[in-house]
Every structure is written in structure tokens, then in C-alpha cells.
């Protein structure tokens, strides 16, 4: 597997994966989630499991089962944890707990490290008190503003895990008493959405939509969701259009669990109606998204609220300057003025677009820096390395001391042989 990523991912990360895997070879990893198909977690695990298996770490994946009423409850819990004003009745909590009790009789968390993904299976830990030191809760959602009642319900179970893992610091709830570590999401450079394309492929796909590659193209790929501020993007574009002959592409789909999606899309289509330079594309394929991002001169993600914002990552990977809203995980990705710009208003976005269109070389330099930033921080290879590191820390089961790998000890770590482990314990 490592060989497929040679010349794409940084050598240093591939060598770190090798070193960490060497220390973990023969140990086992188990994932527990709520679905094998569809959604971000399933997509990540479908890519991660071949990786860890190929590194000599036998990896299994268990999926909880349940009736439709169970998944309706877990969807409500999921939305409430992300801040939606949803109440979970006692009856619904009973449905949730009964299904997890049923699943606890079928799933045995018996690997050296067990990663339980998202809130759906979180209560499983209640049934395995003897396994708690090896179980980690991996949170993939925005937990920065949970509804207090549902968080009070879930928190005691989460606090029984050995550790919890979040995307960004703001998602890590302060009242969790267990160690909370960060692992950013990632993109796979070999996936259909991110693989290299020829200019012929890009032109064929983009021109198929009627877009002119001879004029500047500004692209925002995101769901039709008010938090992605598509109307703000159109407002910014109209300000830019007074000065530059350019085109705007708004491409995305609607989430099945978002009843507002069709309404927002209709508003966007109405706002764009009659303007031949605004292209509203509904549910493009991964390959089409790839081509649109590669054809773009500037990528936008002008969100007013955001989880992590992997479309920012995708845009930077394609070597484009990215203008993003200064919210959620976007500031963790865009280095303002270096790899793109953070903005807070349509006017801010318009100004940065105008600047980049009049300084194309500066945009190219930013794009190249952004690609390097992603190469080191947001490719799947860094994600694999972090999962291996997590395994080591969970297995060491000591919060403060560094893990020493490859024959390094406190006595041999420095020239002259200082006792590094002793000091590490004191200072942390």
C-alpha cells in the first residue's frame, strides 16, 4: 500500500508509518460503527482498513444493527449533538439503549485497540467494563454546541472510554474528563475526486457543462445549505463582475436529512436565473467535482458555519488559492495570506477574488503552498500515521510519558546519554 503513495505523500510520513507499524505488528485493531455503506465514516473506514491490514495489523470492522426506529433515534441524537433543537424522549432513549444491549450480545470488542465511531454505538462501552482501557471514542461530528440535554445523556458513557478523538479543538467538550486528542480528517489523493486528471479530461467535463475555460472560473462545491452561504457567494461574484469578466460555479447536492436543502437550492437557482455566467450544478459526480476544482482559478468555501470543510482541503490539493469563511475547521487549513484567505463577509470574499484575479502569479504561489500544506497535513497517509500513533498511546495507557520506539530508551536518546524519560514525566 505504501508504494502506491510513494512520490505523492511526503517520504517522512511514509517512513513514520513504517516505524510505527513495526512497533504495532501483530497487534489488532477493531472498528465499530453504524453503517458499512454511505456517509463519511464508512468512506474513511473503507479506505483505512486496507491500510492497517497491509501494515501487519489485523483489522476488523463490526457494524451495529437495528430497526428503522433505532436509526431514527440515532439520527435525532446526531442532529441534537450538532446543535439542532431536537428533543429525545424517554421512550426514544429506551429504544436506543435496548438496541445497543442487543448489539452488545453480538459484538465482542476484543482487539488490542477498539475504535467506536460516532454517537450511534457509543453506549456499547457500558456492556464491556473490562475492555474500557482499550476502547476509544472517535467523534466525526461538530460537537461544539450540543443540545445540553442530549449531551448530559451521552457524556457519562463517553467518559468511560480510554480516550476521545476529535477533528478540531473546538469540538472537544471541556466537561469530558478523559484525554481528548485531535486527528484531522483527510482526503485520498488516489480517489476519483482527487486523482490527477489530464487537461483533455478536465476540458471535456467542464465544457460539457457549458463553462468557458478561456475565462476565469470561480468554484464553490458544497451542499445547498444556508451555512455554506451560497447567496453570499453570488453577492460577492456580482461585485467582482463589475471589474472582471469571469464565471461562477456553485456545485453540490442536498443531504437527505436536510429538509431545507431543496428550498435553498431553489433560492440559489432563482438568484442565478438569467445570468449565463453563473452555473448551478446539482449533484455532480466525484469525477466532475475533481474536474471543476482543477479548472478553477479560485476555490471558494464561504461558509458561515462549518465542520471541518474537506472541500477546502480538496481545493488546496489541486493547487488552487482558496478563500474560506473564518469558521469551524477552515482556519485550521487556510493559512491566511499564505495558502489563501479567510473572510467574514461577501465584501471580504469579493475583495480577495478581485485581488487574486488581478495577481494570478500570487494565486499560483498560494496554490502551490496550499498543496504542500495538504500533502503534509491532510492526506490519508497522515491520517493512517495518526491512527497508528493513537494505537500506541492507548496501548501504553500512560497519559504523560512519551512512547519510545525502535530501541530508544531514556538512557540512549541523546548524545552523552541523558535520562530523557525521567525529565519527560516531570515537565508534562
Amino acid at each position: 500500500m505504501i508504494e502506491k503513495y510513494r512520490d505523492i505523500a511526503p517520504d517522512k510520513i511514509l517512513s513514520e508509518i513504517n516505524a510505527l507499524a513495526g512497533a504495532l505488528r501483530g497487534h489488532t485493531l477493531q472498528h465499530i460503527s453504524s453503517t458499512r455503506i454511505g456517509g463519511g465514516v464508512a468512506e474513511i473506514l473503507n479506505r483505512m482498513i486496507p491500510w492497517t491490514t497491509s501494515l501487519g495489523i489485523p483489522t476488523t470492522w463490526d457494524v451495529i444493527d437495528g430497526r428503522q426506529d433505532f436509526f431514527e433515534v440515532t439520527k435525532s441524537i446526531h442532529n441534537a449533538l450538532q446543535g439542532s433543537d431536537v428533543e429525545i424522549s424517554c421512550c426514544n432513549k429506551e429504544i436506543y439503549l435496548a438496541h445497543l444491549a442487543h448489539n452488545a450480545g453480538k459484538i465482542e470488542p476484543d482487539a488490542d485497540v477498539v475504535m467506536v465511531h460516532d454517537p450511534q454505538p457509543a453506549f456499547l462501552i457500558e456492556y464491556f467494563p473490562h475492555r474500557r482501557k482499550s476502547m476509544v471514542w472517535r467523534c466525526h461530528i461538530d460537537l461544539s454546541r450540543p443540545m445540553p440535554a442530549i449531551w448530559r445523556f451521552l457524556r457519562p458513557a463517553i467518559n468511560k472510554y480510554a480516550m476521545a478523538v476529535f477533528h478540531i479543538p473546538h469540538f472537544a467538550q471541556k466537561d469530558l474528563t478523559i484525554p481528548k486528542v485531535l486527528i484531522s480528517p483527510s482526503i485520498d489523493p488516489l480517489s476519483e475526486k482527487n486523482r490527477e486528471l489530464t487537461q483533455e479530461e478536465i476540458t471535456r467535463i467542464v465544457e460539457g457543462f457549458g463553462i468557458d475555460r478561456g475565462r476565469p472560473i470561480i468554484v464553490q462545491v458544497s451542499r445547498f445549505d444556508r451555512f455554506k452561504d451560497p447567496m453570499g457567494v453570488i453577492a460577492a461574484f456580482r461585485q467582482v463582475r463589475r471589474h472582471f469578466d469571469c464565471q461562477l460555479v456553485l456545485a453540490g447536492g442536498g443531504a437527505t436529512d436536510d429538509p431545507e436543502g431543496p428550498m435553498v437550492q431553489a433560492e440559489v437557482e432563482e438568484a442565478a436565473a438569467g445570468d449565463p455566467d453563473i452555473f448551478v450544478l446539482f449533484q455532480p459526480t466525484d469525477l466532475e467535482v475533481n474536474a471543476l476544482q482543477r479548472a478553477a482559478d479560485i476555490i471558494l468555501q464561504k461558509s458561515t458555519r462549518e465542520g471541518f470543510g474537506l472541500t477546502v482541503t480538496e481545493g488546496m490539493w489541486k493547487g488552487k488559492p482558496v478563500i474560506g469563511g473564518a469558521v469551524g475547521g477552515i482556519p485550521a487549513q487556510i493559512i491566511h495570506g499564505e495558502t489563501g484567505y479567510l473572510v467574514n463577509s461577501p465584501e471580504g470574499a469579493a475583495y480577495r477574488i478581485r485581488y487574486l484575479l488581478s495577481h494570478p502569479h500570487a494565486g499560483s504561489v498560494m496554490g502551490a503552498r496550499g498543496r504542500e500544506h495538504v500533502r503534509y497535513n491532510f492526506l490519508i497517509t497522515r491520517h493512517v500515521r495518526d491512527y497508528l500513533l493513537l494505537m500506541l498511546h492507548v496501548m501504553q495507557n500512560e497519559s504523560e510519558r512519551p512512547v519510545f520506539i525502535g530501541g530508544v530508551t531514556g538512557k540512549t536518546g541523546r548524545p552523552g546519554g541523558g535520562d530523557i524519560a525521567a525529565k519527560a514525566g516531570e515537565k508534562s
Binding site: 511526503p10 517520504d11 517522512k12 517512513s15 513514520e16 516505524a19 510505527l20 461544539s144 476529535f166 479543538p169 473546538h170 472537544a172 471541556k174 484525554p179 481528548k180 486528542v181 485531535l182 486527528i183 473564518a326 469558521v327 482556519p331 493559512i335 491566511h336 495570506g337 499564505e338 503552498r369 504542500e372 500544506h373 503534509y376 497535513n377 500515521r385 495518526d386 500513533l389 493513537l390 500506541l392 498511546h393 497519559s399 512519551p402 512512547v403 519510545f404 520506539i405 525502535g406 530501541g407 530508544v408 540512549t412 536518546g413 541523546r414 548524545p415 552523552g416 541523558g418 530523557i420 524519560a421 525529565k423 519527560a424 515537565k427 508534562s428
Partner: protein
């Protein structure tokens, strides 16, 4: 003089989120006062490994946050100008940060706050130290291996080991150069400020420094070729 080998190590880490948060300068002052040395280290150095090729406009998390979220640019500039190269002891750095913040707070009547979504959240590294499997006994071997190493090895020996894992308070390279009698080389490295450069630039600088020292017939130390077992 015995030949003490230099063992090339590197470190990788996960960031652990602490419960310390700040939304204003006074809160930042309070939290910096009590946070762990590991947390201080994390926020002063994480940009090196995150972006080995970039020197950020504000070179540590404290200055960057004060600039971005509090728009207190005079304070941000002072925090960017921390004297890290002269203060290997993190307690001295802590004192310097606290002095900057406290002096500013004394001079103003009201202070700015940012929202909880933009709070400064203190993190600390959970380290794993890796052996690269490479050991140098001579300066020739040292430079050959250093050329092959990635920049994180430089970060480990220049920043992590001396600041977090050792009582010596001297970077591993200078320590080894001195142990081998290369005092001028160690002095030149010690007088250099690695905080003004990216990690990649520091790596290149170190290689250039050793090359220039090796090429200079006036350099002190001794001839590696006189050491038993030297490979020509």
C-alpha cells in the same frame, strides 16, 4: 578523546486538548501562568512540523491568535518577538509572555474579548520518539546521514530534546559537536536563531554550516580520519 556516537532520532505526536481556554488577554495571561511546559512548547513550535517550508507571519500560536481574533497587533508583535533562542528554559519564556501580557493589561482600561468559537484552546503534544536507525561517529558520517534525514529529525534534536526531554538546555547538535571538540562549529550553531526560519531552512542551514566548517582548514576539532574505524 573517545568517539561518542550521534544517534538520529525524531518525534511524532498527537495533539491533546486540555481544558484551558482563553477569550481575552487577561484569560490568556492566567492560563499561560499555569499551563504545562509541554503546552507552552506545543504552541511555540507546532508550526515547524505542520509546515516545514513556511515561515508564518506570526511565528507562534499566541501571537497569531492575538492578531487574528483580538486584533491587538502591538501585543501580537511583542509575542512574535519572543526571545526563544536565548531562553532555552521554558520557564523564562513563560515569564516573558506573562510580562508582555501583564504590561499591556496595565496600560489599557478595557480589553477585547472574542467569542467562545474563536477561543484559544491550549493543547499539548503526546509524543512518540522514533529511532531512525542511523548513527554517526564522525562529522563526515554525520553530514551524510543528516542530508538523508527529513527535517523532523532536525526539529527533534534542535527543539524537542533540549526543551522537553533533557536537563542540558543545549541542542543535541551543539552538545555533540562540543563533545567531539568542534567548539567553533557549536558556537556558530548556538549563535544562530532557528526561530526566524522554516524547519526546511534550518535543515539546509545546518548542512551548509557543517560543510563550510569542514572546508575551512582553520576549523578546530580534530581530523575524523584519525579515529580508529574511520571509513574512507
Amino acid at each position: 578523546m573517545n568517539s561518542i556516537p550521534f544517534r538520529f532520532l525524531k518525534a511524532v505526536y498527537l495533539a491533546e486538548v486540555t481544558n484551558q481556554r482563553a477569550t481575552s488577554l487577561s484569560q490568556l495571561l492566567m492560563e499561560v501562568t499555569i499551563t504545562s511546559q509541554w503546552s507552552l512548547f506545543f504552541h511555540l513550535h507546532q508550526h515547524f512540523s505542520r509546515d516545514p517550508h513556511i515561515v508564518p507571519e506570526y511565528p507562534n500560536d499566541f501571537s497569531s491568535w492575538v492578531h487574528t481574533y483580538l486584533a491587538e497587533d502591538a501585543v501580537a508583535e511583542k509575542l512574535a518577538n519572543l526571545n526563544l533562542v536565548r531562553s532555552m528554559d521554558l520557564e523564562l519564556v513563560r515569564r516573558e509572555i506573562c510580562t508582555i501580557l501583564a504590561q499591556h493589561l496595565q496600560e489599557i482600561s478595557g480589553e477585547r474579548h472574542t467569542s467562545s468559537e474563536n477561543a484559544f484552546i491550549f493543547c499539548k503534544p503526546r509524543l512518540a520518539v522514533l529511532d531512525t536507525g542511523r548513527t554517526a561517529r564522525t562529522l563526515d558520517e554525520f553530514i551524510d546521514i543528516l542530508r538523508e534525514m527529513d527535517s523532523d529529525t532536525v526539529a527533534y534534536h534542535l527543539f524537542i530534546a533540549p526543551r522537553l526531554l533533557s536537563e542540558t538546555m543545549m541542542n543535541d547538535f551543539s552538545l555533540w559537536f562540543r563533545q567531539r571538540g568542534h567548539h567553533r562549529l557549536a558556537d556558530r550553531l548556538d549563535s544562530f536563531d532557528p526561530y526566524l526560519k522554516s524547519l526546511k531552512e534550518n535543515h539546509d542551514f545546518l548542512l551548509d554550516l557543517i560543510e563550510s566548517e569542514r572546508a575551512d582548514p582553520q576549523a578546530d576539532g580534530y581530523d575524523d580520519r584519525k579515529i580508529p574505524g574511520y571509513r574512507s
